[in-house]
Symmetry: C2
Subunit: 213 residues, 2 copies
Protein backbone atom coordinates (compact mmCIF):
# COMPACT_ATOMS: atom_id res chain seq x y z
CA UNK A 1 0.00 0.00 0.00
CA UNK A 2 1.90 3.03 -1.27
CA UNK A 3 0.57 6.54 -0.99
CA UNK A 4 1.70 10.02 -0.08
CA UNK A 5 0.15 10.98 3.23
CA UNK A 6 0.67 14.68 2.73
CA UNK A 7 -1.32 14.55 -0.56
CA UNK A 8 -4.53 13.28 1.03
CA UNK A 9 -6.96 16.12 1.77
CA UNK A 10 -7.93 16.47 5.42
CA UNK A 11 -11.64 16.13 4.56
CA UNK A 12 -10.86 12.69 3.17
CA UNK A 13 -9.01 11.77 6.36
CA UNK A 14 -12.07 12.84 8.36
CA UNK A 15 -14.29 10.62 6.25
CA UNK A 16 -11.91 7.67 6.62
CA UNK A 17 -12.39 7.99 10.40
CA UNK A 18 -16.12 7.85 9.86
CA UNK A 19 -15.95 4.72 7.66
CA UNK A 20 -13.61 3.10 10.14
CA UNK A 21 -15.88 3.82 13.07
CA UNK A 22 -18.92 2.49 11.24
CA UNK A 23 -17.17 -0.77 10.23
CA UNK A 24 -15.87 -1.34 13.74
CA UNK A 25 -19.39 -1.03 15.09
CA UNK A 26 -20.76 -3.20 12.31
CA UNK A 27 -18.58 -6.21 13.15
CA UNK A 28 -19.77 -6.07 16.73
CA UNK A 29 -23.37 -6.61 15.64
CA UNK A 30 -25.10 -9.92 14.89
CA UNK A 31 -25.62 -8.82 11.28
CA UNK A 32 -22.00 -7.76 10.90
CA UNK A 33 -20.63 -11.07 12.12
CA UNK A 34 -22.51 -12.87 9.36
CA UNK A 35 -21.21 -10.92 6.38
CA UNK A 36 -17.75 -10.84 4.84
CA UNK A 37 -17.98 -8.03 2.31
CA UNK A 38 -19.60 -4.63 2.07
CA UNK A 39 -20.40 -2.40 -0.91
CA UNK A 40 -19.68 1.29 -1.16
CA UNK A 41 -23.45 1.70 -1.50
CA UNK A 42 -24.00 0.10 1.93
CA UNK A 43 -21.24 2.20 3.52
CA UNK A 44 -22.85 5.22 1.95
CA UNK A 45 -26.29 4.40 3.35
CA UNK A 46 -24.94 4.01 6.87
CA UNK A 47 -22.57 6.96 6.98
CA UNK A 48 -24.48 9.49 4.91
CA UNK A 49 -21.50 10.02 2.57
CA UNK A 50 -22.37 9.39 -1.06
CA UNK A 51 -21.07 6.17 -2.56
CA UNK A 52 -18.94 7.69 -5.31
CA UNK A 53 -17.22 9.72 -2.61
CA UNK A 54 -16.67 6.54 -0.57
CA UNK A 55 -15.04 4.83 -3.57
CA UNK A 56 -12.93 7.88 -4.35
CA UNK A 57 -11.71 8.21 -0.76
CA UNK A 58 -10.74 4.56 -0.51
CA UNK A 59 -9.10 4.56 -3.95
CA UNK A 60 -6.37 6.86 -2.62
CA UNK A 61 -4.97 3.83 -0.86
CA UNK A 62 -5.07 1.34 -3.70
CA UNK A 63 -7.55 -0.86 -5.51
CA UNK A 64 -8.75 -3.13 -2.75
CA UNK A 65 -12.44 -3.23 -3.56
CA UNK A 66 -13.87 -5.72 -6.08
CA UNK A 67 -16.47 -4.56 -8.58
CA UNK A 68 -19.87 -6.13 -7.90
CA UNK A 69 -18.74 -7.58 -4.58
CA UNK A 70 -17.37 -4.65 -2.64
CA UNK A 71 -14.77 -4.50 0.05
CA UNK A 72 -13.66 -7.34 2.27
CA UNK A 73 -14.68 -5.96 5.66
CA UNK A 74 -11.83 -7.27 7.80
CA UNK A 75 -9.31 -6.27 5.20
CA UNK A 76 -10.80 -2.79 4.96
CA UNK A 77 -10.76 -2.36 8.73
CA UNK A 78 -7.09 -3.39 8.87
CA UNK A 79 -6.15 -0.96 6.15
CA UNK A 80 -8.08 1.93 7.68
CA UNK A 81 -6.61 1.17 11.07
CA UNK A 82 -3.11 1.42 9.67
CA UNK A 83 -3.84 4.52 7.62
CA UNK A 84 -5.39 6.27 10.61
CA UNK A 85 -2.79 4.85 13.01
CA UNK A 86 -5.61 3.69 15.22
CA UNK A 87 -3.56 0.65 16.14
CA UNK A 88 -1.50 3.03 18.27
CA UNK A 89 -2.29 4.71 21.55
CA UNK A 90 -1.62 8.40 21.83
CA UNK A 91 -0.74 10.37 24.90
CA UNK A 92 -1.88 13.94 24.58
CA UNK A 93 -2.00 17.00 26.80
CA UNK A 94 -4.72 19.54 27.37
CA UNK A 95 -4.21 23.23 28.15
CA UNK A 96 -7.12 24.85 29.97
CA UNK A 97 -9.17 23.51 32.88
CA UNK A 98 -12.23 25.68 32.22
CA UNK A 99 -15.64 24.38 31.16
CA UNK A 100 -14.58 23.10 27.76
CA UNK A 101 -11.33 21.70 29.12
CA UNK A 102 -13.14 19.87 31.90
CA UNK A 103 -15.61 18.35 29.46
CA UNK A 104 -12.79 17.19 27.20
CA UNK A 105 -10.91 15.69 30.16
CA UNK A 106 -13.99 13.64 30.96
CA UNK A 107 -14.86 12.79 27.37
CA UNK A 108 -15.06 8.99 27.08
CA UNK A 109 -14.79 9.11 23.31
CA UNK A 110 -11.10 10.03 23.45
CA UNK A 111 -10.12 7.01 25.52
CA UNK A 112 -12.24 4.73 23.39
CA UNK A 113 -10.31 5.87 20.32
CA UNK A 114 -6.89 5.50 21.95
CA UNK A 115 -6.30 9.09 23.08
CA UNK A 116 -5.15 9.48 26.67
CA UNK A 117 -4.83 12.87 28.30
CA UNK A 118 -1.64 12.58 30.37
CA UNK A 119 -1.92 15.99 32.00
CA UNK A 120 -3.96 19.16 32.10
CA UNK A 121 -2.26 22.56 32.33
CA UNK A 122 -3.68 25.77 33.73
CA UNK A 123 -2.44 28.99 35.28
CA UNK A 124 -5.13 29.28 37.94
CA UNK A 125 -3.60 28.48 41.37
CA UNK A 126 -6.95 27.13 42.55
CA UNK A 127 -6.99 24.57 39.78
CA UNK A 128 -3.31 23.56 39.84
CA UNK A 129 -2.77 20.24 41.67
CA UNK A 130 -6.46 19.38 41.48
CA UNK A 131 -7.59 16.33 39.56
CA UNK A 132 -10.23 16.18 36.83
CA UNK A 133 -11.44 12.65 36.20
CA UNK A 134 -8.18 11.37 37.72
CA UNK A 135 -6.02 13.55 35.50
CA UNK A 136 -3.64 15.86 37.33
CA UNK A 137 -3.76 19.61 36.68
CA UNK A 138 -0.24 21.08 36.44
CA UNK A 139 1.04 24.63 36.34
CA UNK A 140 1.18 25.78 32.71
CA UNK A 141 4.73 27.00 33.45
CA UNK A 142 5.83 23.35 33.60
CA UNK A 143 4.09 22.35 30.38
CA UNK A 144 7.27 22.32 28.22
CA UNK A 145 9.04 20.10 30.73
CA UNK A 146 6.22 17.51 30.77
CA UNK A 147 5.82 17.51 26.98
CA UNK A 148 9.48 16.53 26.72
CA UNK A 149 9.31 14.06 29.58
CA UNK A 150 6.26 12.29 28.17
CA UNK A 151 7.26 12.69 24.48
CA UNK A 152 3.90 14.27 23.66
CA UNK A 153 3.16 15.16 20.04
CA UNK A 154 -0.47 16.31 20.28
CA UNK A 155 -1.90 19.15 22.35
CA UNK A 156 -5.41 20.46 22.82
CA UNK A 157 -5.90 24.16 23.50
CA UNK A 158 -9.00 25.13 25.48
CA UNK A 159 -7.82 28.38 27.06
CA UNK A 160 -9.24 31.89 26.73
CA UNK A 161 -8.53 33.75 23.48
CA UNK A 162 -5.89 36.03 24.88
CA UNK A 163 -3.71 33.17 26.14
CA UNK A 164 -4.06 30.85 23.15
CA UNK A 165 -1.03 32.05 21.18
CA UNK A 166 1.24 31.97 24.24
CA UNK A 167 0.10 28.47 25.17
CA UNK A 168 0.61 27.29 21.57
CA UNK A 169 4.13 28.72 21.58
CA UNK A 170 5.01 26.82 24.77
CA UNK A 171 3.58 23.63 23.26
CA UNK A 172 5.63 23.97 20.08
CA UNK A 173 8.79 24.84 21.99
CA UNK A 174 8.27 21.66 24.00
CA UNK A 175 8.02 19.53 20.87
CA UNK A 176 4.31 19.29 20.07
CA UNK A 177 3.63 18.65 16.36
CA UNK A 178 -0.18 18.90 16.15
CA UNK A 179 -2.68 21.13 17.89
CA UNK A 180 -6.45 20.95 18.19
CA UNK A 181 -7.53 24.48 19.06
CA UNK A 182 -10.90 25.26 20.67
CA UNK A 183 -10.02 28.89 21.27
CA UNK A 184 -11.84 31.17 18.81
CA UNK A 185 -8.72 32.95 17.62
CA UNK A 186 -6.22 32.43 14.85
CA UNK A 187 -2.94 31.01 16.14
CA UNK A 188 0.20 31.69 14.12
CA UNK A 189 2.42 28.63 13.78
CA UNK A 190 5.18 27.55 11.47
CA UNK A 191 3.78 25.58 8.53
CA UNK A 192 5.16 22.19 9.59
CA UNK A 193 2.89 22.20 12.64
CA UNK A 194 -0.56 20.77 11.95
CA UNK A 195 -3.28 22.94 13.43
CA UNK A 196 -6.99 22.20 13.52
CA UNK A 197 -9.33 24.93 14.70
CA UNK A 198 -12.63 24.02 16.25
CA UNK A 199 -14.54 27.18 16.94
CA UNK A 200 -17.90 26.08 18.31
CA UNK A 201 -19.80 29.23 17.39
CA UNK A 202 -18.45 29.11 13.83
CA UNK A 203 -20.06 25.68 13.61
CA UNK A 204 -23.40 27.11 14.72
CA UNK A 205 -23.08 30.07 12.38
CA UNK A 206 -22.63 27.74 9.46
CA UNK A 207 -26.02 26.27 10.33
CA UNK A 208 -27.92 29.56 10.58
CA UNK A 209 -26.55 30.42 7.16
CA UNK A 210 -28.77 27.78 5.58
CA UNK A 211 -31.93 28.61 7.53
CA UNK A 212 -34.77 30.25 5.62
CA UNK A 213 -33.12 29.97 2.24
Amino acid sequence: MKYDRSKIPSVTVNRLSIYYRYLERLIETEEGRNIKTISSYEISKKTGINSSQVRKDLAYFGEFGTRGIGYHIENLIDILKKILKSDKEWNIILAGAGNIGKALAQYEGFRKRGFFIKGIFDNNPRKINEKIDNIHVYDVKDMGKYIRKWHIEIGIIAVPENSAQRVADIMIAGGIKSILNFSPVHIKLSPEIKLKNLDLSVELESLTYYLNL
Copy 2:
Protein backbone atom coordinates in the same frame (compact mmCIF):
# COMPACT_ATOMS: atom_id res chain seq x y z
CA MET B 1 -26.24 41.57 -3.53
CA LYS B 2 -27.72 38.57 -5.29
CA TYR B 3 -26.53 35.06 -4.71
CA ASP B 4 -27.87 31.58 -4.20
CA ARG B 5 -27.32 30.56 -0.59
CA SER B 6 -27.68 26.89 -1.28
CA LYS B 7 -24.85 27.04 -3.86
CA ILE B 8 -22.21 28.28 -1.41
CA PRO B 9 -20.09 25.42 -0.03
CA SER B 10 -20.20 25.03 3.73
CA VAL B 11 -16.40 25.36 3.97
CA THR B 12 -16.76 28.82 2.45
CA VAL B 13 -19.42 29.71 5.00
CA ASN B 14 -17.06 28.60 7.77
CA ARG B 15 -14.33 30.83 6.40
CA LEU B 16 -16.73 33.79 6.13
CA SER B 17 -17.33 33.42 9.88
CA ILE B 18 -13.60 33.55 10.43
CA TYR B 19 -13.15 36.71 8.32
CA TYR B 20 -16.07 38.31 10.06
CA ARG B 21 -14.74 37.56 13.50
CA TYR B 22 -11.30 38.88 12.61
CA LEU B 23 -12.70 42.16 11.20
CA GLU B 24 -14.94 42.69 14.20
CA ARG B 25 -11.94 42.36 16.48
CA LEU B 26 -9.85 44.55 14.22
CA ILE B 27 -12.17 47.56 14.45
CA GLU B 28 -12.03 47.37 18.21
CA THR B 29 -8.27 47.92 18.19
CA GLU B 30 -6.41 51.24 17.99
CA GLU B 31 -4.88 50.17 14.67
CA GLY B 32 -8.24 49.13 13.26
CA ARG B 33 -9.90 52.42 14.08
CA ASN B 34 -7.31 54.25 11.97
CA ILE B 35 -7.73 52.33 8.74
CA LYS B 36 -10.62 52.28 6.28
CA THR B 37 -9.69 49.49 3.89
CA ILE B 38 -8.06 46.10 4.08
CA SER B 39 -6.45 43.90 1.43
CA SER B 40 -7.08 40.21 0.93
CA TYR B 41 -3.36 39.79 1.69
CA GLU B 42 -3.79 41.36 5.12
CA ILE B 43 -6.90 39.26 5.85
CA SER B 44 -4.90 36.24 4.77
CA LYS B 45 -2.01 37.04 7.10
CA LYS B 46 -4.31 37.40 10.09
CA THR B 47 -6.62 34.47 9.49
CA GLY B 48 -4.18 31.96 8.03
CA ILE B 49 -6.37 31.45 4.94
CA ASN B 50 -4.52 32.12 1.69
CA SER B 51 -5.33 35.36 -0.07
CA SER B 52 -6.61 33.89 -3.34
CA GLN B 53 -9.03 31.83 -1.26
CA VAL B 54 -10.14 34.99 0.58
CA ARG B 55 -10.85 36.73 -2.72
CA LYS B 56 -12.64 33.71 -4.13
CA ASP B 57 -14.82 33.33 -1.02
CA LEU B 58 -15.84 36.99 -1.02
CA ALA B 59 -16.43 37.03 -4.78
CA TYR B 60 -19.43 34.72 -4.30
CA PHE B 61 -21.27 37.73 -2.97
CA GLY B 62 -20.37 40.25 -5.62
CA GLU B 63 -17.46 42.45 -6.62
CA PHE B 64 -17.09 44.66 -3.63
CA GLY B 65 -13.32 44.79 -3.37
CA THR B 66 -11.26 47.29 -5.36
CA ARG B 67 -8.06 46.15 -7.04
CA GLY B 68 -4.98 47.67 -5.40
CA ILE B 69 -7.00 49.09 -2.51
CA GLY B 70 -8.86 46.16 -1.06
CA TYR B 71 -12.13 46.02 0.78
CA HIS B 72 -13.80 48.84 2.63
CA ILE B 73 -13.79 47.41 6.16
CA GLU B 74 -17.13 48.71 7.42
CA ASN B 75 -18.81 47.75 4.20
CA LEU B 76 -17.31 44.27 4.34
CA ILE B 77 -18.41 43.80 7.96
CA ASP B 78 -21.97 44.84 7.06
CA ILE B 79 -22.10 42.45 4.15
CA LEU B 80 -20.69 39.53 6.13
CA LYS B 81 -23.05 40.25 8.99
CA LYS B 82 -26.02 40.03 6.62
CA ILE B 83 -24.73 36.96 4.83
CA LEU B 84 -24.10 35.16 8.11
CA LYS B 85 -27.28 36.56 9.68
CA SER B 86 -25.21 37.68 12.64
CA ASP B 87 -27.43 40.72 12.97
CA LYS B 88 -30.02 38.31 14.38
CA GLU B 89 -30.21 36.58 17.72
CA TRP B 90 -30.94 32.88 17.74
CA ASN B 91 -32.65 30.86 20.38
CA ILE B 92 -31.47 27.29 20.36
CA ILE B 93 -31.98 24.20 22.46
CA LEU B 94 -29.54 21.64 23.75
CA ALA B 95 -30.25 17.94 24.29
CA GLY B 96 -27.98 16.28 26.84
CA ALA B 97 -26.84 17.56 30.23
CA GLY B 98 -23.73 15.40 30.44
CA ASN B 99 -20.15 16.70 30.43
CA ILE B 100 -20.20 18.04 26.90
CA GLY B 101 -23.72 19.43 27.29
CA LYS B 102 -22.78 21.21 30.49
CA ALA B 103 -19.71 22.76 28.90
CA LEU B 104 -21.78 23.95 25.94
CA ALA B 105 -24.42 25.42 28.26
CA GLN B 106 -21.70 27.45 29.94
CA TYR B 107 -19.83 28.36 26.78
CA GLU B 108 -19.56 32.16 26.61
CA GLY B 109 -18.73 32.10 22.92
CA PHE B 110 -22.31 31.21 21.98
CA ARG B 111 -23.84 34.19 23.75
CA LYS B 112 -21.19 36.49 22.34
CA ARG B 113 -22.15 35.39 18.83
CA GLY B 114 -25.90 35.75 19.40
CA PHE B 115 -26.80 32.15 20.26
CA PHE B 116 -28.93 31.70 23.36
CA ILE B 117 -29.70 28.29 24.78
CA LYS B 118 -33.36 28.54 25.85
CA GLY B 119 -33.55 25.13 27.42
CA ILE B 120 -31.62 21.94 28.07
CA PHE B 121 -33.32 18.54 27.74
CA ASP B 122 -32.35 15.31 29.44
CA ASN B 123 -33.97 12.06 30.51
CA ASN B 124 -32.16 11.71 33.83
CA PRO B 125 -34.61 12.46 36.68
CA ARG B 126 -31.76 13.80 38.81
CA LYS B 127 -30.92 16.40 36.19
CA ILE B 128 -34.46 17.42 35.23
CA ASN B 129 -35.52 20.70 36.87
CA GLU B 130 -31.93 21.55 37.77
CA LYS B 131 -30.31 24.64 36.28
CA ILE B 132 -26.99 24.82 34.44
CA ASP B 133 -25.64 28.34 34.24
CA ASN B 134 -29.20 29.60 34.78
CA ILE B 135 -30.64 27.47 32.00
CA HIS B 136 -33.44 25.15 33.03
CA VAL B 137 -33.13 21.41 32.38
CA TYR B 138 -36.43 19.95 31.12
CA ASP B 139 -37.63 16.42 30.59
CA VAL B 140 -36.72 15.33 27.07
CA LYS B 141 -40.32 14.10 26.74
CA ASP B 142 -41.43 17.75 26.62
CA MET B 143 -38.85 18.80 24.04
CA GLY B 144 -41.25 18.89 21.08
CA LYS B 145 -43.68 21.07 23.02
CA TYR B 146 -41.01 23.64 23.90
CA ILE B 147 -39.53 23.70 20.39
CA ARG B 148 -42.98 24.70 19.10
CA LYS B 149 -43.63 27.14 21.94
CA TRP B 150 -40.31 28.92 21.50
CA HIS B 151 -40.19 28.57 17.66
CA ILE B 152 -36.74 27.00 17.81
CA GLU B 153 -34.99 26.16 14.54
CA ILE B 154 -31.58 24.99 15.78
CA GLY B 155 -30.80 22.12 18.12
CA ILE B 156 -27.57 20.79 19.57
CA ILE B 157 -27.29 17.08 20.30
CA ALA B 158 -24.88 16.06 23.07
CA VAL B 159 -26.47 12.80 24.21
CA PRO B 160 -25.00 9.28 24.24
CA GLU B 161 -24.73 7.48 20.89
CA ASN B 162 -27.67 5.18 21.42
CA SER B 163 -30.13 8.04 22.05
CA ALA B 164 -28.93 10.39 19.31
CA GLN B 165 -31.28 9.24 16.55
CA ARG B 166 -34.32 9.28 18.83
CA VAL B 167 -33.50 12.77 20.10
CA ALA B 168 -32.96 14.00 16.53
CA ASP B 169 -36.35 12.58 15.50
CA ILE B 170 -38.10 14.43 18.34
CA MET B 171 -36.31 17.64 17.37
CA ILE B 172 -37.34 17.36 13.72
CA ALA B 173 -40.92 16.47 14.61
CA GLY B 174 -41.00 19.62 16.75
CA GLY B 175 -39.87 21.79 13.86
CA ILE B 176 -36.09 22.04 14.16
CA LYS B 177 -34.36 22.73 10.82
CA SER B 178 -30.66 22.46 11.70
CA ILE B 179 -28.77 20.20 14.06
CA LEU B 180 -25.25 20.37 15.42
CA ASN B 181 -24.45 16.83 16.52
CA PHE B 182 -21.69 16.01 19.01
CA SER B 183 -22.69 12.38 19.28
CA PRO B 184 -20.23 10.13 17.42
CA VAL B 185 -22.89 8.38 15.35
CA HIS B 186 -24.49 8.94 11.97
CA ILE B 187 -28.00 10.34 12.30
CA LYS B 188 -30.43 9.71 9.45
CA LEU B 189 -32.46 12.78 8.54
CA SER B 190 -34.44 13.90 5.55
CA PRO B 191 -32.26 15.93 3.16
CA GLU B 192 -33.89 19.31 3.84
CA ILE B 193 -32.60 19.23 7.41
CA LYS B 194 -29.11 20.67 7.76
CA LEU B 195 -26.91 18.46 9.92
CA LYS B 196 -23.39 19.19 11.08
CA ASN B 197 -21.48 16.43 12.84
CA LEU B 198 -18.75 17.31 15.28
CA ASP B 199 -17.12 14.14 16.46
CA LEU B 200 -14.30 15.22 18.75
CA SER B 201 -12.21 12.08 18.36
CA VAL B 202 -12.47 12.24 14.57
CA GLU B 203 -10.89 15.68 14.87
CA LEU B 204 -8.00 14.24 16.87
CA GLU B 205 -7.62 11.31 14.49
CA SER B 206 -7.22 13.67 11.59
CA LEU B 207 -4.22 15.14 13.44
CA THR B 208 -2.46 11.85 14.15
CA TYR B 209 -2.78 11.03 10.48
CA TYR B 210 -0.23 13.69 9.63
CA LEU B 211 2.26 12.82 12.39
CA ASN B 212 5.56 11.20 11.35
CA LEU B 213 4.88 11.47 7.64
